[in-house]
């Protein structure tokens, strides 16, 4: 596609449930990033995939968060046993090879009730 696609655009879930957020990067982009944006806050780095290298997971806030990238393309961010503090907009971005600017998706707004 022409841009980075994220789904769903909105997700409301009950506390304690697991959720999966999906990101479809721009075709041919080898680098993929997940960030979290809480209301009125900046962009908090979560995880970074670059080609076949081991992902940089240094931003994941707890072991309830995990992500995978299959076939060097689509990525899924999974949050287990969701908590209210997980409520935020989760943004995915991709880059041609990590040396250029990012293209962001429109994000998934997660609300934990």
């Amino acid at each position: 596609g022409a841009g980075v696609s994220q789904s769903p655009s909105n997700k409301v879930t009950e506390k304690g449930k697991d959720v999966e957020l999906r990101c479809d990067p721009i075709s041919g982009h080898t680098a993929l990033y997940w960030y979290r944006q809480s209301l009125g806050q900046g962009l908090e780095f979560l995880i970074y995939f670059q080609g076949n290298s081991a992902p940089d997971k240094s931003g994941l806030p707890s072991d309830r968060f995990s992500a995978e990238r299959t076939g060097g393309s689509v990525s899924t961010l999974t949050i287990q046993r969701t908590q209210q503090e997980d409520s935020a907009v989760y943004l995915c971005a991709s880059s041609y090879d990590g040396s250029y600017g990012y293209t962001f998706g429109s994000g998934t707004r997660l609300t934990v009730v």
Binding site: Q41, G42, L43, F45, L91, D97, S99, T103, G105, S106
Partner: protein, 111 residues
């Protein structure tokens, strides 16, 4: 040392004014400094970027000023318009590592 500090948190200007947003960093190894613009409900979009070997870069009404010795860089918006009302983020990166973002500045431009 990985932080990027951004100010002000919010900014209100009249149409035609020149808002200035400032960022400071600690890691002297950072080699790429972009600015992103974000409208409500959308992801951030790359606006303009600079590398530390130049002191200024202009693209249309947007200018980045870079002061390597002070470890600071700023975004200037010339002849600001109501359509420029958005949240602006500075960022910094080392090589092909992930971007480290500032906390954002919400700009409002009134007619």
């Amino acid at each position: 040392q990985q932080q990027v500090k951004q100010s002000p948190q919010s900014l209100i200007v009249q149409k035609g004014g020149i808002p200035i947003i400032n960022c400071a960093y600690e890691n002297t190894a950072f080699d790429y400094f972009p600015w992103y613009q974000q409208f409500p409900g959308k992801g951030p979009a790359l606006l303009i970027a600079i590398r530390p070997d130049v002191s200024e870069k202009k693209e249309g009404r947007f200018t980045i000023s870079f002061n390597k010795s002070a470890k600071q860089f700023s975004l200037h918006i010339m002849d600001s318009q109501p359509g420029d009302s958005a949240t602006y983020f500075c960022a910094a990166r080392l090589n092909t590592d992930k971007l480290i973002f500032g906390t954002g500045t919400r700009l409002q431009v009134f007619p």
